[in-house]
């Protein structure tokens, strides 16, 4: 019975009946490509702020956007495309003054390590049967891949070979499994620790596709959320982000 009462008390506290109390729990909704960088950043954040219970959820930015529109209980949203946080600020669902940009999306042409293809020329190779990209209809990296292929002048040749991953991680899996020969994925994914040694990549020039600004926003005002935002944008956080492929042209 005592346990039940405690549970009820916890549930009551969690449902936010006390807006003036400083929240201990901080929930981050983050684009899936931030997975590895954010794990490292949140480890050091937790050490520095042991009182804050930091939780990270990874998923597609578009999914999070529609969940937040329906008042999903997230405190901070880190999107793969700053357009979503911008829209949320416009809709009054995020704090406009907290909007920030943490990186530029960069795409690479990726082939598995054992492939005979050269990633710089793989898109033109006649032996290629399937080229995997993320779905341009809703994945920012897919849109960038399509735009890059158009400006590199290979789109017409590749169009019939395209297979679409649900997101950029599945796109990589299509290539890694050998089902597709070559793929266009995020640089952050290609240099992530579990992937680094499994393939080779060629970085597509930034001018070949529209700028993909990656940004975030605080959804609910709290000292913990502010602390996390500055942790991320401090030189320490920036250095980690840069190591995982998220950086601005100035850096």
């Amino acid at each position: 019975m005592r346990g039940l009462e405690q549970l009820a008390l916890i549930a009551l506290l969690c449902t936010g009946c006390a807006p003036h109390v400083q929240p201990r729990k901080l929930t981050i909704a983050a684009a899936a490509d931030l997975n590895f960088a954010l794990e490292e950043i949140s480890r050091s954040f937790r050490q520095q702020h042991p009182a804050i219970d930091l939780q990270t959820n990874y998923g597609s930015s578009g999914n999070f956007y529609s969940q937040i529109q329906n008042h999903a209980p997230f405190d901070v949203f880190l999107s793969a495309d700053v357009e979503y946080p911008r829209k949320l600020a416009g809709e009054g669902l995020g704090l406009a003054d907290s909007l920030f940009v943490y990186g530029l999306g960069r795409i690479v042409v990726w082939v598995p390590a054992q492939s005979a293809l050269d990633p710089a020329t793989a898109l033109q190779a006649a032996a290629v049967r399937h080229v995997a990209i993320a779905n341009p209809q809703h994945a920012p990296y897919g849109r960038a891949a399509e735009a890059a292929m158009r400006s590199l002048g290979v789109y017409d040749r590749v169009e019939g070979k395209l297979v679409l991953g649900e997101n950029v991680a599945q796109t990589l899996q299509f290539v890694e499994s050998g089902a597709a020969d070559v793929g266009i994925v995020a640089l952050s994914l290609a240099i992530a620790p579990p992937v680094r040694d499994r393939g080779r990549y060629w970085q597509v020039p930034l001018e070949a596709y529209p700028k993909m600004e990656q940004g975030g926003i605080i959804l609910k005002e709290s000292a913990a959320a502010r602390a996390f935002r500055s942790w991320l944008l401090d030189p320490g956080g920036r250095a980690v982000l840069q190591r995982y492929g998220f950086y601005l042209p100035g850096n």
Binding site: H130, A132, N135, H138, S177, G178, A179
Partner: protein
């Protein structure tokens, strides 16, 4: 409305059902009548897709039909094509995914047939195959119809497996459930709602029609 995706899903569901009837009837016969000790192992394997998440099944299928697997390499040598991201590849996945939905109702239907009728037919000198055709199958029609409807409906609604192995190619592997998902992801809710409503109507009509047909069989049967 994405007619191309709807038509693809219907083609996939019909082909899957036909293949499953051809494969599932002998398998169900064996499960219903075999006395092998290790039969339970086969039954467990057949029922696996009921328990496994579609993601697991899709993940395995993609590896199993990919060019690096023996099966994928053999297929490439025989046909010159490749199974991943093709209609045939999707068909392989769908057949595996819907296997229990055909085999279980058909096996139950076979097992429910009065064994004495089969034995009487054999004693009258009718071969086993002809007994199947003329006694067993007609008596088990409701079970077979249920199996066929369920695998058709299950394939129409298939999502996870297609997402894992399809590659989302318009007209080849972009089935109606994937198309709806894409529309929702692109925040195109009106189009998603339209296609969803159509799918709901189609599914209901198919199910209602088949149950209505079955009902006629049931009410006519005792009169004979």
């Amino acid at each position: 409305m994405d007619w191309q995706a709807i038509w693809l899903s219907v083609r996939l569901a019909v082909s899957t059902t036909l293949i499953l009837l051809a494969l599932g009837l002998p398998l169900a016969y064996w499960i219903a009548f075999s006395r092998r000790r290790w039969k339970f192992l086969v039954e467990a394997v057949v029922s696996l897709p009921l328990v496994l998440p579609p993601t697991v099944l899709g993940f395995y299928v993609l590896l199993a039909i990919g060019p690096r697997s023996p099966a994928g390499a053999l297929y490439a040598r025989l046909t010159g094509g490749m199974l991943p991201f093709s209609f045939q590849g999707l068909l392989v996945a769908s057949v595996l995914y819907s296997l229990p939905f055909t085999v279980q109702p058909v096996a139950a239907g076979f097992a429910a047939v009065d064994r004495r009728l089969l034995e009487a037919s054999w004693c009258l000198g009718v071969s086993r195959l002809a007994t199947c055709r003329r006694v067993l199958v007609p008596l088990a029609i409701p079970g077979i119809a249920t199996g066929a409807i369920l695998s058709f409906a299950h394939t129409m609604g298939e999502f996870g497996v297609v997402l894992m192995v399809g590659g989302n190619i318009a007209g080849v592997t972009r089935t109606v459930s994937i198309s709806i998902y894409d529309q929702v992801q692109a925040l195109n809710y009106a189009a998603a709602a339209e296609t969803s409503l159509f799918l709901l109507g189609l599914s209901f009509t198919v199910l209602a029609l088949t149950y209505a047909l079955q009902r006629r069989i049931w009410s006519v049967w005792p009169l004979n």
